[in-house]
């Protein structure tokens, strides 16, 4: 077995220390290893996240007093635009799939890499290019875009700010997202280890599968829509501009045809992570595996049918408002299926409360509030009152940041030992998680009240009567940010000084816990054989070195 020895050599050291063709920084920039690409995404995404978080802090400082506190109105408009653009296109959409999906999907499937490793690297470069273009737009042309992340026409056509470049950045990022999506779909179809049938796949892989389909089928629509804005600004081609007969509502339709499903690009992978963490710490097989798996597909499908609920007050026809409102309520069903199954998995489990599970429980609490306030806005009558107020801002931070963001942190703490082979300080992690959850709820729950009282979103100034609540909310924001900074500091300290992690610190049952921490270059010496479901705790469901096992058994027979 010549190949066997070659593989053994490759897998002697972990993937960080493997000496390939390229050395030093080039071993990262030219890598096709899905694990290294995942780490590169992580580094970039954390930087973008912290930058956008600081923009958010600036906004909260500005909101401490009515009128001008620290910045001019135009600056404020640019800051909320870029807070949104960075958070959405550079953090929330790519974070879980690009970091943890890249790193863990092939391992969980029992594969050595994704189907198209070079394309995978290309997608990282597109991501970086998109990020840099967006950054460049801040300092060139007419200055930072001031349209909000939605780029609604006709303002985005007429604004003198540098909208074209930031829109183009989003276009490039969309392409990166598509490439990752088609890579994952193909990987899941073609690279599963022998014996891993669809219903033996980890639920994280299921979630990524549903997500990837949305990425492939929805992103092109936003691509062309944003492209048309650029054309319209550059050449004056009549497409959306009402002065030329265009219909701005069609822009909104096309924008939300992507951007609503994109909400599920953000949340589905996070839900997949939850389905990984809960059975590990409950020491129990997941309750309702098939229902959770299929509910991911159901969410992806229903996600396509409900975009109109972002446009209830935009002047759509009454028929479509009623139709979209009714369809919106359907989303609650598969989401409910997931939440109930997670809780049922915890029931009568031998629960071990560690940081990842703490984050997950915070997620279930926060996300339920986010989901339920979503229903308030899905209902036409209440939405008319609440639309474009802080209520909306509170809602989407609860579902996006509280949902996806919390799980991003949970995943970081869950997979940190595997990715870096190091451990972090558990106590500090618990303190930072607690600060985060308390601060988060003070910060955003106040926004529901503010919005209910009539505070409009995206406003620089406000009436003095709102000041008390604004200050309370800002204090919550500062507590939350303290928690986040402490959390990243703790992880960074663990990365540098942490003790060596074992291969399976949590008692996880999926394939990534069967290999060394950090994993070797090719993940597995031999492709494992799968003989059972992913979350079985009481017996072995993987045969790790099948050829060796066969040889041993043959020897025993002779």
């Amino acid at each position: 077995m010549a190949n066997g020895t070659a593989a053994a050599h490759v897998n002697d050291v972990d993937f960080y220390h493997y000496e390939g063709k390229h050395k030093g920084i080039m071993s990262w920039l030219l890598t096709t290893d899905h694990k290294r690409i995942g780490i590169m995404y992580l580094a970039a995404i954390v930087v973008f996240f912290l930058a956008a978080m600081m923009l958010g802090v600036l906004m909260r400082i500005e909101a401490l007093t009515p009128g001008q506190t620290i910045m001019k109105p135009q600056t404020y408009n640019s800051i909320f635009t870029f807070h949104g653009v960075i958070m959405i296109f550079l953090f929330i959409i790519p974070a879980v799939p690009a970091v943890f999906g890249n790193f863990f999907l092939p391992i969980q499937l029992g594969a050595k890499d994704v189907s198209f490793p070079r394309l995978n690297l290309f997608s990282w470069y597109l991501y970086m290019a998109g990020g840099l273009i967006a950054l460049l737009s801040l300092f060139t042309g007419g200055g930072a875009a001031d349209t909000g992340w939605t780029f609604y026409v006709p303002y985005s056509i007429r604004s003198s700010a540098n909208v074209s470049l930031s829109v183009f950045g989003a276009f490039v990022l969309g392409f990166s997202s598509i490439v990752t999506g088609l890579n994952f779909i193909t990987t899941i179809h073609r690279m599963r280890a022998p014996g891993m049938s669809w219903f033996r796949m980890p639920l994280f892989a299921w979630a990524l599968y549903a997500t990837s389909w949305i990425q492939v089928l929805a992103t092109p629509v936003i691509g062309i829509t944003l492209f048309l804005i650029v054309l319209e600004r550059a050449f004056g081609i009549g497409v959306f501009d009402p002065a030329l007969g265009g219909d701005p509502l069609l822009y909104q339709h096309m924008f939300w045809i992507y951007s609503h499903p994109a909400v599920y690009i953000m949340i589905l992978p996070a839900m997949g992570v939850v389905s990984e963490i809960i059975p590990t710490f409950a020491k129990k097989d997941i309750f309702g595996y098939k229902q959770i798996a299929l509910s991911s597909l159901a969410i992806a499908l229903i996600g396509y049918l409900v975009w109109g609920h972002h446009m209830f007050t935009s002047g759509m026809s009454d028929t479509s408002r009623v139709v979209f409102s009714l369809l919106t309520f359907l989303v609650a069903i598969p989401t409910g299926v997931k939440v109930f199954n997670w809780v049922a998995t915890l029931y009568k489990g031998s629960i071990e409360i560690k940081v990842p599970l703490l984050f997950v429980m915070a997620f279930i609490f926060i996300f339920s509030i986010g989901g339920l306030t979503g229903l308030v806005q899905g209902a036409l009558a209440t939405d008319i009152h609440l639309t474009d107020t802080y209520f909306i801002v509170g809602h989407f931070h609860y579902v996006m940041f509280g949902g996806m963001g919390t799980i991003f942190f949970a995943a970081l703490h869950y997979w940190f030992p595997k990715m870096f082979g190091k451990t972090y300080n558990e106590k500090v992690a618990i303190i930072s998680a607690t600060l985060f959850v308390i601060g988060f709820n003070m910060f955003y729950f106040t926004m529901f009240i503010l919005g209910y009282l009539g505070m409009p979103r995206r406003y620089y100034d406000y009436l003095p009567q709102y000041q008390g609540l604004h200050v309370f909310s800002s204090i919550g924001a500062f507590i939350m940010v303290t928690g986040i900074v402490l959390m990243f500091g703790n992880l960074l300290r663990g990365l540098i000084k942490g003790e060596k992690a074992t291969a399976n610190p949590w008692g996880g049952t999926t394939l990534e816990w069967r290999i060394a921490s950090p994993p070797p270059l090719e993940n597995f010496d031999e492709i494992p054989v799968v003989t059972g479901g992913p979350y079985v705790h009481d017996r072995e469901t993987y045969i790790m070195n099948p050829i060796k096992v066969i040889h041993k058994e043959e020897e025993a027979v002779h």
Partner: protein
């Protein structure tokens, strides 16, 4: 999961391709000549039906979809259904405004 063989072993003869091409040219001729007639409101429908028939030929024969695994056919169906959903729901707005 991984049978690498069946779809690629299917070879079509030159004759079949040429027949399909003749069909496509004929359909083009029909769509051009029919466009001159006035069918009123169904003119667009006729044009789209002919275009769909042509697409069907191109996909099934030139693009080999007919001989691909079922999974490819499901993929294509998902893609087309997505597009139909987009159009239908948008027209709930446009046609009742």
């Amino acid at each position: 999961m991984s049978n690498n063989t069946s779809s690629e072993t299917h070879h079509m003869s030159y004759g079949t391709y040429i027949m399909v091409w003749l069909g496509l040219v004929a359909l083009t001729a029909i769509t051009v000549s029919v466009a001159g007639l006035n069918f009123g409101s169904i003119t667009l429908t006729v044009a789209l039906l002919i275009a769909t028939a042509k697409t069907f030929l191109v996909m099934n024969y030139f693009m080999h979809v007919k001989f691909e695994h079922t999974v490819f056919k499901i993929f294509i169906a998902v893609c087309i259904i997505t597009f139909i959903i987009m159009i239908t729901l948008t027209f709930f707005d446009l046609s009742f405004r």
